[in-house]
Amino acid sequence: MTRRMQWIYAWLLLTPAMVMLFAFTHFPAITTIVNSFFSTPRGRRPARFVGLRNYEELIADPTFWKVLVNNLWYATATIPASIGISLLMAIWVNDKLKGRSLVRMSFFAPTVLPLIAVANIWLFFYTPGFGLIDQIRMGIFGLPENSWLGQQETVLICMMVVTIWKEAGFFMIFYLAALQAIPPSYKEAADIEGASRWVFFWKITWPLLMPTTLFVSINAIINSFRLVDHIFTMTGGGPDNASSLLLFYIYEVAFKFWQTSYAATLTVVMLAILSIIAIGQFFFMDRRVHYR
């Protein structure tokens, strides 16, 4: 095949996928940015250029700041927790444990459930007075009933618990794969040297797992901004936006209030956050991960 033919063939093979990819990822990402500088078209009134007005509105919008801070807290709490738990799970499941397959099944099962179904299950736990948590509190400790999802102080924590429960088993899989790739001779050598399990973990296992930890972290960060399904069922973002996250707010602004330009502006913030993660990943990759 001639070079020219190769090119044509390759481009023809790529065209269908690239057209779809551009149509639903790259093109909308660009129009999002463009639309954030325009007003929302209403009825006969077309969109007109408003410069930075949407961004001024954004900075002055207390709900935006609240939602952003919520999302950052949500990310900072759920990511290390689910990573820590998933690593622990993986180490246990990798061990010669009694009933290992049952344990593994229990850890992984939440991953298979739709987040919306998970939210339904947990909603019942949190129901004031009637839910399981309150039944235990009231029945055993004689405490008054508590509206876990109805209070600003507790609602976000409740959402975090759900997320960790859902995600840890998923991340466990990646750690499990990485653990199985560590040659057993390392462990044997460490045993001959008389190294304790603890030392072995921190000096050998943990550094070797660094690429996995990075991969899982990136996934966890993206998920903390991308997955908001449970909010719909559990709280609707309330009370007073205390459990709302950025993407949920974008949904509300766009499809409840129909302020599409302002929603585009919010999406630009989301894109900026994801870009920061990408850049961070790029530098972090170079520094920490190339261990061997």
Binding site: Y9, A10, H26, F108, F255
Partner: protein, 285 residues
């Protein structure tokens, strides 16, 4: 198990200490496993018992399927299931075709712009269609496809993840096989079909499992783009059903919840090993 083939790494001199360590670990692992299983077990408990036993655990409480029957008749779940099955099938077929062609081009052809285009493909791993709901809704509206099943699938059909995964697999296939087929006069598409696709079947299986479970569970985009019974997938149907205030008992909602996740959960129990390996394979490369 394979206890005999593995070298015993523990020094024989301190068996008591090691045993203690093992017991502690097993105990902790089991505690966490039970804690982790509780929510699901609890949902199963309420779904299979009359409403009176929602928070009343008696070992011999009467079992019933009535909650499932109630949920099934209270909302058009049959239609929702059909919609979801159609949806995941359409997406899977489209993804296989589009990603295979694109991955083949990236893996085995040299052409100007390949690096830039591949970077653009990888970009989708970060900027997923899930967050571009506003603009994608406009696109679908302009195409006149709002409230169709195809519209739910469209943004996901060209999957950057799928292209990446298949490209990596295709690159591991020896070029000699490829050349041998070409000598016999096969064109590039025939080579793809006869050589590459059959050798990549494990990757297709892994990717298929991940894709099906992902789109079975997807919620936000289908919620936005559908507004009738004829198009709603089970996830959206479930949220509509559970959102009807009052009247619906917890046990019935839990039955509906289990029903919607049931097929995946059962598939997972049956093919646990394959599931776990698929997710591993899909994530690691």
């Amino acid at each position: 198990m394979s206890d005999f083939s593995l070298p015993n790494p523990e020094p024989a001199a301190r068996p008591r200490q090691i045993d203690f360590d093992r017991i502690l670990n097993t105990f902790a692992a089991w505690t966490l496993a039970i804690l982790w299983a509780l929510p699901l077990l609890y949902a199963i408990w309420t779904a299979f018992h009359p409403a009176a036993y929602e928070a009343n655990f008696e070992l011999f409480a009467p079992l019933t399927l009535e909650n499932f029957a109630k949920a099934w008749t209270a909302a058009p779940f049959a239609q929702y299931f059909l919609n979801t099955i159609v949806l995941v099938t359409i997406i899977l077929i489209a993804q296989f075709v589009l990603c295979t062609l694109a991955a083949y081009a990236f893996a085995r052809f040299e052409f100007p712009g390949s690096d830039i285009l591949f970077t653009l493909v990888l970009l989708q791993l970060l900027v997923m269609p899930d967050i571009l709901i506003v603009e994608n809704y406009k696109t679908i509206r302009n195409l006149g496809l709002v409230d169709t099943i195809v519209a739910i699938g469209l943004p996901y059909m060209a999957s950057g993840f799928g292209i990446f995964l298949l490209r990596q697999t295709f690159k591991t296939i020896p070029r000699e096989l490829d050349e041998a087929a070409r000598v016999e006069g096969a064109g590039p598409l025939l080579v793809l079909w006869k050589v590459y696709v059959p050798l990549a079947i494990p990757t297709y299986l892994a990717y298929g499992l991940v894709s099906v479970s992902h789109h079975w569970n997807n919620f936000l985009w289908p919620l936005i783009i559908t507004n009738s019974v004829e198009t709603r997938p089970v996830t959206v149907g479930l949220s509509v059903f559970a959102a009807v205030d009052g009247g619906v008992e917890w046990s019935v909602i839990n039955a509906a919840t289990l029903m919607t996740s049931g097929p995946l959960l059962i598939a997972f129990l049956l093919f646990q090993r394959q599931f776990v390996q698929s997710f591993m394979r899909a994530g690691i490369k």
